[in-house]
Amino acid sequence: MNFMDSKQPESGLLGPESDSQRTLYPYVTGTSVVALKYKDGILMAADMGGSYGSTLRYKSVERMKPIGKHSLLGASGEISDFQEILRFLDELILYDNMWDDGNSLGPKEVHNYLTRVMYNRRNKFNPLWNSLVLGGVKNGQKYLGTVSMIGVNFEDNHVATGFGNHLARPILRQEWHENLSFEDGVKLLEKCMRVLLYRDRSAVNKLQIAKITEEGMTISQPYSLKTHWELSAFQNPTQGAVGSW
C-alpha cells in the first residue's frame, strides 16, 4: 500500500498528449559496447553488467546477440528495451525466412530496420533507451554501424557507445588499421575495455568478445581482465608534493 503518485509527467503545455506514453528514464542499464572491423569480419566487446542506478546489480547479462545468419547486435542502455528489440528482430528474421527464397537479411538491412524503429519511437517521444551496435559480414562485405536512442545512425570502421565514445574511440583512432589480425583486434578491444574498467563506474570486470565472419558468429565465454595497480606513483601518491591531497 505504498502511496503511489502518478508516474505520468505533469505539464500544462501537453494538452491531450498527456494520455500518451512516454519513457522517462531507464532502470536496468548496460554500459559501453566497443566494436571494430578486422581482416575477417567484425569483433565486438561488451561487459556483462546490468546496473540499477549506482548499484552494480546484475553481473551476467549478455548484451551481445546474433541476429539471423549474418549479423551481431550489441546494446547499451535499458536492458528491457534491448530484450524487446530482440523480439522485434526475431519476428523480422522469421518473416524473412518464411519467404524461403534463398535471400537473407544482411547487416546493412538489419541496421536500416533498427534505425527506422529507433527514430520513429523518438518522434513519438517514447524512445527505446538504447545505443545499438550492429556488425556483420555478408558476401565478403564487412559492415559495422551504430544507432542511438534518438535515431542518430552511421557506419564506420570502429564504433563505441556510452563511455566508450570518450575513452575507447581515441584509442581506436590511433591504433586501428585496415586488415587487423584476429589477435591484434582482440588485444586492441581489450585495451579499450581495460581503460573502461578503470574509468567507467558502471563497468564490471566480466566481459565477452564476439566475432562474426562469413562463416558465422562466435561469442567467447565470460572472462575477466587483469588490472594493473603496482605503479610506484600509486604507492605513495603525495610523495612528490608533501602536504597535498
Binding site: 502511496f3 519513457t23 542506478g53
Partner: protein, 235 residues
C-alpha cells in the same frame, strides 16, 4: 545518453524478497510488512503469492500494482494450463509477468521474483525488476531490504545447496534485512517448491536470530530484576 538526471534508483520499495535455487527446487522468502508512509498497515502480510500449483511470485513495491499484475497473470496461466493440458512452466509464468511489467512500465512500480518447479527445467528463479527486464538467476533479491543483502549473498551463496541449507540461507538473509531496513519487518515466510510439491513455512519475529545491538526479548523488566542477583536499579 543522460537526458534525465532523475535517476535516483533504486526506489524505496518497502519489502525484502528473495528467491534461491537449490539442488532439486527453489526456496522463496519474504518479510511481512506492508507500510503506508510511516505506518505499518499490515504486520503479517503474505507477499508470496501463488500463480499456479507449481509457480509462485514474490511481490515488492506498490502493493496494488503487484496484486493486480499477479491476478492477471494467474488468470492467463489458468487458461494457458487448460489449453496446454499440463502444468505451465516457470518460464511462461515469468514471461507473462514481464509482458505486463514492460508494457506498462510508465505506470507500474513493482519488482517481482518468480520461482517454481517444472518437469522440463526443474527449479528456476526469474527476477523482473522495475522496467520489465526479465533475468534468469540462480538466486534473486529484491525490495528495499535487498540493498543490505548484496554483500551477504556475494559471500554466503554457493551452488548446489541442499533444501535445508537453502531455506536457512533465505531465513537468515530476510532476518538480516529486517534488522536494518525500516520498510521490512514482521515474520519471515518461506515457500519451498520442488518435484514433490509445495511447503509453506512461517518464522515469527521472535524466533529469528538476534543481530548486532539487538537484545533477547523479555516479558518485563520485572523478570530481569527478579531473576538476577539483588542488584538495585542503577541508572
Amino acid at each position: 545518453m543522460d537526458l534525465n538526471m532523475n535517476l535516483n534508483a533504486p526506489h524505496s520499495m518497502g519489502t525484502t524478497i528473495i528467491g534461491v535455487t537449490y539442488n532439486g527446487g527453489v526456496v522463496l522468502g519474504a518479510d511481512s510488512r506492508t507500510s503506508t508512509g510511516m505506518y505499518v498497515a499490515n504486520r503479517a502480510s503474505d507477499k508470496i503469492t501463488q500463480l499456479t500449483e507449481n509457480v509462485y511470485v514474490c511481490r515488492s513495491g506498490s502493493a496494488a500494482d503487484s496484486q493486480i499484475v499477479s491476478d492477471y497473470v494467474r488468470y492467463f496461466l489458468h487458461q494457458h494450463t487448460i489449453q496446454l493440458g499440463q502444468p505451465a512452466t516457470v518460464k511462461v509464468a515469468a514471461n507473462l509477468i514481464r509482458l505486463l511489467s514492460y508494457n506498462n512500465k510508465n505506470m507500474l512500480e513493482t519488482g517481482l521474483i518468480v520461482g517454481g518447479w517444472d518437469k522440463y527445467e526443474g527449479g528456476k528463479i526469474y527476477g523482473i525488476p522495475l522496467g520489465g527486464t526479465l533475468i534468469e538467476q540462480p538466486f534473486a533479491i529484491g525490495g528495499s531490504g535487498s540493498s543490505y543483502l548484496y554483500g551477504f549473498f556475494d559471500q554466503a551463496w554457493k551452488e548446489g545447496m541442499t533444501k535445508d541449507e537453502a531455506e536457512q540461507l533465505v531465513v537468515k538473509a530476510v532476518s538480516l534485512a529486517i534488522a536494518r531496513d525500516g520498510a521490512s519487518g514482521g515474520v519471515v515466510r518461506t515457500v519451498i517448491i520442488n518435484s514433490e510439491g509445495v511447503t509453506r513455512n512461517f518464522y515469527p519475529g521472535d524466533k529469528l536470530p538476534l543481530w548486532h545491538e539487538e537484545l533477547e526479548p523479555q516479558n518485563s523488566l520485572l523478570d530481569i530484576l527478579n531473576s538476577s542477583s539483588p542488584e538495585p536499579m542503577n541508572i
